[in-house]
């Protein structure tokens, strides 16, 4: 799996071009995205940094087809997802994208396993992804019975269960304590480094960028810089 990931390293998984997205009208209009263009390569760990309101979450939602930019295009497999209809978008989400939310967004009425099973094709996968996230013993627990970290792991497991090409994580540590956050980051790192997945982490924690292959900094809806990190550190070594 590692080898495969390496092979795909240079291949562009997704290319966003001139994305625009705004909220509100008139004077209250805020450009959440202003002419944002970027590429995401297969098997890379990309961190998008920015302060609150910089447009990073909007960018992430747009990339995950959870929101539609006002303008621009997002090319995946030579297809512009911005031009896709709802059915195609849903399909794109279902097949290509996994989400990890800051607030986990687990369905509280379902057990961890059930939550994961929502997206899994079969039970084996569920088991596997629980193994991946190291939560095999908690599959029958309800989210409310799990800690934040565990819930986030379930969330990751749910995302992984459908074997997405792209894992989008919105402040995955935001709702977690430091240690748990570190563990989650390690999990994500593992997914990229060991399992060859492409992970995009949106965070306002600068340090997380150190573990990623590229770092995009955003401010006021625009990309201020794109830094390639040739020597990413392990998640365990970073501190914030």
């Amino acid at each position: 799996m590692e080898k495969n990931f390496e092979e795909k390293e240079k291949r562009v998984l997704l290319e966003a071009q001139h994305l625009w997205k705004s909220y509100g009208e008139g004077e209250a209009k805020i450009d959440a995205l202003a002419d944002v263009s970027l590429k995401i390569y297969e098997g890379e760990l990309l961190t998008i940094l920015g302060s609150s309101g910089s447009g990073k979450s909007t960018l992430l939602n747009s990339l995950g087809a959870m929101d539609k930019p006002d303008k621009g295009s997002i090319i995946v497999d030579n297809q512009d997802i911005c031009k896709m209809n709802d059915r195609a978008l849903t399909d794109y989400r279902k097949k290509n994208v996994g989400f990890v939310f800051q607030s986990f967004n687990l369905i509280s009425e379902l057990t961890a396993e059930e939550n994961v099973a929502l997206t899994a094709r079969d039970a084996k996968i569920v088991k596997k992804v629980f193994e991946i996230v190291g939560l095999s013993g908690k599959t029958k627990s309800y989210p409310s019975q799990l800690s934040g970290g565990q819930q986030q792991r379930v969330s990751i497991a749910r995302a992984l269960a459908k074997d997405p090409k792209l894992l989008l994580c919105d402040e995955p540590t935001g709702a977690l304590d430091y240690e748990t956050g570190k563990q989650i980051l390690a999990e994500l790192e593992k997914l990229v480094r060991q399992h060859g997945r492409t992970v995009v982490i949106v965070t306002h924690t600068q340090e997380i960028g150190k573990m990623s292959d590229r770092i995009i900094k955003m401010r006021n809806g625009m990309i201020k810089s794109v830094t390639v990190n040739d020597q990413p550190v392990s998640a365990a070594s970073i501190e914030w």
Binding site: M66, D67, D86, F99, E109
Partner: protein, 1225 residues
């Protein structure tokens, strides 16, 4: 995805249960109501089938088994039964007289009964009473009732309380204004009626045949008698007519005669008057004559003298004149010339000649043989001369001696002699010739002598001279004149003359002297005449005075005689005139008397004829009356055959059951034709489809069907709103989950499907529960219907179609609500869905801003939240409004129903009982009842069934005559204000007034009388018109009389006993000697106890109440669920904000109070919408329930509003606090 279903159930269990409950209710109502309607419909048809409601009923004058057998042959006929029915009165042990229609039944008939109650009759005469009738009148099986038949009451044992097709759904639905049909139905064994009836039928038929024969015979006799009388009368009339004609002719003639008589009378009267006048004139003339005569006699001497003088003068003059004339006459001169030739002829000869000639002339004229008178004088003279010569010659011949000796006479002489004798007509052959000769000789001798004696030849020669005319008679006269001349001349001169010569001389001498003398004498004469003239006399008068006087006297005497004669004549004529007049009078009298007599005779004849005519008419009348009596008797026999005997107006009916698929109408017509051909009179006929039963059932079924469709429709609309609202709440609250799922790659459709699945599960449960509820409702309503109709049992039939429809509708409502709600939510992008929804920032209306300007920030917050969630607010308002509507309409219904009862039994009917009589009651009887100690008040209430006309429109109406100051009858106008009965005019009922288009102040016409409409009344039940007694009395005889009484309930029995005693007295007195009493006292028919009627009605109404309270309960439960859920949703949505407020130090109670503003506003708006809607629904429902004689007036007192408001407010408050308390945790 299916994994999501359970979590959703877990999370939204309350809402979903609410949805399920509401849906179940809707489904339940629909299935229940429709099933109960279907069950009712099926049960009714089953019942009608099972208890064999006939396909057609034909009412005829007679029924007989032969006919039934004959009709049974028709292939389409499955069964035919005959029965009798009639109206009569029934008296129960409680002494109540009740109108009842009795039907006969027989065990072998297809007519079956459902027995609600049954008792063994133990061989007594049985009667079955209809359930409602028995129930309403508290009669039970085992009671004994009396049934009126032929003015007698026979006892019957009530062995069964039954339900029967005829009485299904008996409702007071008489169309005519103000009439409650209050009929009961009862069945008596056909045997009881028909055995006796058949016996009587046979008797009556025999009697009828006998009567018919008798009638035929009598009619024949009567007809003959009538014919004879008529012929006789006709002849008499003809005769009379002829006589009349004759009389008329006579009368005309008499009239003419009378006219003539009158004319004659007039003439006679005139003549009489003339005669009398003439008589008077004659008398006057007589007097005058007498006077003249006297005068004449007195003057006689003088007259004599004068007369003498005049005579003398005249004589002298005459002489002179004659002389003169003679002298001057040329003839005289000529004569004198001639005479002068014969101066020697003696005057004497001349005179003789003249005389002789005259004689001769006379002689020859006498004999006529000498000459023809016509010959001229000269011829005559010549002839005469010739004859004279002949005569002389003949005389000479015969005297010549030749004939002295006749025997010697030669034949020629003889011949000659005979010729001579023949010449003088002296030859007569029977006398001897000698004698003839002697005679002839003497004649010829005479002639010859005379010729010589008178110188006839000379005189004859004078003849042509003296007579110029040449006629012999003139000759004679001339000869006389000559003689007279000579005589005169000689006399005048006084000289003697002897010859003609003397005369000629004298003539020549005296010619001159005569003239002179004449003049003297003329003068003298003139003097005398003038003197006479002085006396008024003419010379004629005095020529011979005595003669004159005598003449005069004689004349006078003659005149007097004539006058006397005239008078006499007159006197003689007068009696005849008088007699004539008398005759006329008599004639007239006679004519008139004859006329009178004829007239009298005619009149007598006419009288006689009239008398005969009258007699004839009498005879005819008598004959006809005899015939009519017979006919009447026959009619009666018929009537008895028609109606039977026993009950009044008993009707014979054939009950026909046809085979399936038969064209009932056509087949019924065929049967009627067969019956008609058999001389059976068809009185009427109807098929089941046309029957009143069918109509009543259909009417009621239609109303129930309408309600069965309308009610579920309303419920479903409410349910749609509620489910939609609840589902939108569920989906809205699942927004985050939807977002996650969408983020996880679930499609919108799959999300919709998820919620639809959830809803489907809810709906399925709702359908199951609803079906169960529906079944319960069906049982309840079905049982209610069974009592209402009344049906002995209801075959509960679940209408699969309706159940399926209800299930589909329930599911569809849920699915539609879900799809709509989920559709909008799932459209949102996942990122948006997962984030907190953007707060509503729409503008708050300015007036709200103004209103809340001074309110606390918390209140503003509450109101703002409410207004910014318009949809939720609107839906909540609609749901609560629906609840308000249902509660209010149900309450309004209860109030209206109570108002109706109150109107009937407290306001309009303020009396405890009403007693009916067949006629109006006199004051004495009323006073008698009023005098009873236990009677608090009583008054007459006569009924007049008639027609009211206005502007050409007519309507049937019942008019009540009431006491003007009545306290027992309440009459109210449309403003619910009590009206007093006016002294004059009428109070018209609202619907009737509308029907004829009349208004207050207009004048209506009733039975030819005009009445002003003094007011328009509003009546919930019946349609009575009111008038004062005096006004009502103008309408003539009452249709039915009644008394209304106010008494204590405990005393009812006493009143009944009193009335019963009166009734029995009346009935017994019918056959008593005291007929006046019997006829004056009206018959007591029956009594209606208003309290019993009230109780009966209230019993029915209580079921209405229950239905209304169920609806109210449903409305409250639904409302409560909605309000709680909405409130909780609102609170949940704003949990964060509320928690923030709590962190800011707001107390829970403060927040709760402020938050209540939302609920309160919802409540206010709901009331604004719900109350009018409820009012409309209630009005519509009440209108549907109303019949022509029972109107549910929408009664909306403030209480319903208050109660509704309090109830809704209560559950709004409760739900608010429930919601808030959950939030407190």
């Amino acid at each position: 995805m299916r994994r999501m279903i359970l979590p959703i159930f877990k999370k939204y269990k309350k809402l979903l249960i609410s949805i399920m409950l509401v849906s179940a209710m809707g489904c339940g109502f629909m299935t229940g109501l429709s099933a109960s309607y279907t069950s009712l419909d099926v049960s009714l048809s089953n019942y009608l089938d099972e208890y064999c409601c006939p396909d057609a009923v034909i009412t005829t004058d007679v029924t007989s088994r032969d006919v039934i057998d004959k009709l049974k042959i028709i292939s389409s006929v499955s069964e035919i039964n005959a029965r009798m029915c009639g109206d009569t009165y029934l008296k129960s042990i409680r002494a109540r007289y009740l109108s009842v229609r009795i039907f006969s039944y027989s065990p072998d008939d297809k007519q079956k009964f459902y027995f609600w109650e049954r008792r063994d009759s133990e061989g007594k005469d049985e009667i079955y009473l209809e359930y409602n009738f028995a129930n309403d009148n508290h009669i039970k099986a085992g009671d004994t009732v009396k049934v009126k038949a032929d003015n007698e009451y026979n006892e019957y044992f009530v062995s069964g309380i039954v339900s029967c097709p005829e009485t299904i759904s008996v409702q007071p639905t008489d169309d005519s204004w103000g009439v409650n049909t209050d009929f009961g139905y009862a069945y008596v064994s056909a045997k009881l009626i028909s055995d006796e009836y058949e016996k009587k039928y046979v008797q009556a038929k025999d009697k009828l045949d006998e009567k018919q024969d008798e009638l035929d015979t009598e009619w024949g006799k009567a007809e003959k008698k009538l014919d004879d009388a008529e012929t006789k009368l006709y002849d008499a009339k003809q005769q009379l007519s002829d006589n009349q004609k004759l009389f008329n002719d006579s009368a005309a003639e008499a009239e003419e005669k009378l006219e003539q008589l009158m004319q004659a009378e007039l003439e006679l009267e005139g003549t009489k008057s003339d005669i009398l006048e003439k008589k008077q004139q004659l008398i006057d003339a007589k007097t005058a004559i007498k006077k003249d005569i006297d005068k004449l006699v007195d003057n006689e001497p003088a007259l004599r003298k004068a007369s003498d003088s005049l005579k003398q003068t005249d004589e002298a003059l005459s002489l002179l004149e004659s002389m003169n004339k003679l002298i001057k006459d040329p003839k005289t001169a000529m004569l004198m010339n001639i005479l002068s030739n014969y101066p020697d002829i003696r005057i004497e000869s001349v005179m003789n000649a003249a005389e002789t000639f005259s004689e001769y002339y006379t002689t020859i004229s006498k004999y006529g043989f000498l000459f023809d008178k016509s010959r001229s004088v000269s011829e005559y003279a010549n002839k005469l001369t010739e004859y004279m010569d002949q005569a002389v010659s003949d005389y000479r011949y015969i005297t010549s001696g030749k004939f002295d000796d006749m025997s010697a006479v030669s034949d020629s002489d003889r011949e000659m002699l005979i010729t001579i004798m023949k010449r003088y007509n002296l030859y007569n052959r029977y006398i001897s010739l000698e004698e003839n000769y002697e005679n002839t000789k003497s004649v010829l001798s005479y002639i010859t002598d005379k010729i010589d004696e008178y110188d006839l030849r000379a005189i004859v020669s004078l003849i042509p001279v003296i007579s110029s005319s040449g006629k012999a008679e003139d000759v004679a006269k001339g000869m006389s004149d000559i003689a007279g001349f000579i005589d005169t001349l000689s006399g005048y001169t006084g000289k003697s003359v002897s010859t003609v010569g003397d005369i000629v001389e004298l003539y020549s001498q005296s010619a001159s002297e005569t003239e002179k003398k004449k003049s003297e004498l003329t003068d003298q004469r003139m003097k005398i005449i003038s003197m006479l003239a002085g006396y008024g006399l003419t010379e004629e008068d005095i020529r011979d005075v005595p003669s004159f006087i005598n003449t005069k006297i004689k004349e006078a005497s003659d005149g007097i005689d004539k006058i006397n004669e005239g008078i006499k004549q007159i006197d003689k004529e007068l009696p005849s005139i008088n007699e004539g007049l008398q005759n006329i009078a008599d004639t007239r009298e006679q004519i008139l008397s004859e006329l009178d007599e004829a007239g009298e005779k005619l009149s007598a004849a006419e009288k006689e004829i009239n008398k005969n005519d009258e007699k004839f008419i009498d005879e005819r009348t008598q004959a006809l009356s005899e015939f009519s009596d017979l006919k009447e008797e026959l009619e009666k026999a018929y009537i008895k055959l028609e109606d039977g005997e026993g009950f009044d107006s008993l009707r014979n009916q054939f009950l026909v059951y046809f085979n399936d698929g038969a064209d009932i109408k056509a087949e019924t017509e065929k049967l009627k034709d067969i019956l008609s051909a058999d001389d059976i009179k068809i009185k009427n006929s109807y098929t089941y489809e046309e029957s009143a039963v069918k109509k009543r059932i259909d009417d009621n079924l239609r109303t129930i069907e309408t309600m069965s469709v309308l009610m579920p429709a309303i419920f479903f609309v409410i349910i749609l709103i509620v489910v939609f609202l609840f589902m939108s709440l569920v989906i809205k609250q699942s927004r985050r989950e939807i977002g996650i799922l969408r983020a996880l790659g679930f499609s919108k459709a799959s999300i919709k499907l998820l919620f639809c699945t959830v809803d489907l599960i809810v709906s399925v449960f709702a359908v199951i529960l609803g079906t169960f509820m529906g079944c319960c409702l069906m049982l309840y309503v079905g049982n209610y219907y069974s009592a209402f109709f009344p049906l002995p049992n209801v075959t509960f039939r679940i209408n699969i179609g309706m159940f399926a429809l209800a299930a589909i509708l329930t599911i569809a409502v849920g699915q539609i609500s879900t799809i709509i709600s989920a559709g909008s939510t799932s459209k949102i992008m996942p990122s948006e869905a997962m984030s907190r929804p953007a707060p509503e920032t729409s503008e708050i209306p300015k007036f709200v801003q103004k209103l809340t300007a001074k309110a606390s920030p918390m209140t503003k917050f509450s109101v703002t939240i409410l207004l910014r969630n318009k949809l939720k607010f609107g839906l909540s308002v609609i749901c609560i409004a629906a609840s308000v509507m249902m509660i209010f309409s149900s309450l309004a219904f209860i109030t209206s129903k109570n108002y109706l009862l109150h109107q009937i039994y407290d306001e309009r009917i303020r009396y405890d009982c009403q007693i009916f009589f067949d006629d109006d009651l006199d004051e004495k009887f009323v006073r008698e009842i009023k005098g009873l100690k236990f009677v608090k008040d009583v008054q007459r209430l006569p009924y007049y069934r008639t027609e009211i006309e206005f502007d050409g429109k007519k309507e049937k109406a019942v008019i009540n005559g009431v006491d003007m100051n009545t306290e027992l009858v309440g009459i109210y106008n449309k403003n619910d204000k009590k009206i007093n009965v006016p002294k004059k005019g009428i109070i018209l009922e609202k619907h009737l007034a509308q029907a004829i288009g009349a208004n207050k102040g207009d004048t209506v016409k009733i039975k030819g009388h005009k009445f002003r409409i003094e007011d328009i009344s509003n009546q919930c039940v019946s349609r009575f018109q009111y008038m004062s007694y005096d006004e009502a009395a103008k309408l003539g005889d009452v249709t039915i009389g009644s008394l209304i009484c106010d008494i204590n309930r405990a005393d009812e029995q006493k009143l009944l006993e009193f009335l019963t005693s009166k009734t029995e007295k009346n009935y017994s007195s019918l056959s008593s000697e005291n007929e006046d009493e019997a006829s004056s006292a009206p018959n007591y028919l029956y009594t209606v106890f208003t309290r019993l009627a009230y109780e009966g009605n209230e019993k029915v109404f209580r079921t209405y109440d229950l239905a209304a309270w169920i609806i109210i309960g449903f409305a409250v439960v639904v409302g409560l669920l909605i309000v709680i859920n909405i409130a909780q949703t609102n609170l949940l949505e704003k949990k964060r904000e509320l928690c923030v407020l709590r962190t800011l130090g707001f107390q829970h109670n403060d927040i709760s109070k402020k938050w209540f503003v939302q609920s309160f506003l919802q409540f206010i708006f709901s009331c604004i919408i719900g109350l009018p809607a409820g009012m409309l629904i209630a009005k519509y429902g009440l209108e549907k329930l109303s019949t022509s004689t029972r109107e549910y007036i929408f009664a909306n007192s403030i209480n319903e509003y208050i109660f509704t408001i309090i109830l809704v407010l209560a559950y709004v408050v409760i739900s608010h606090f429930i919601a808030m308390s959950s939030m407190k945790k």
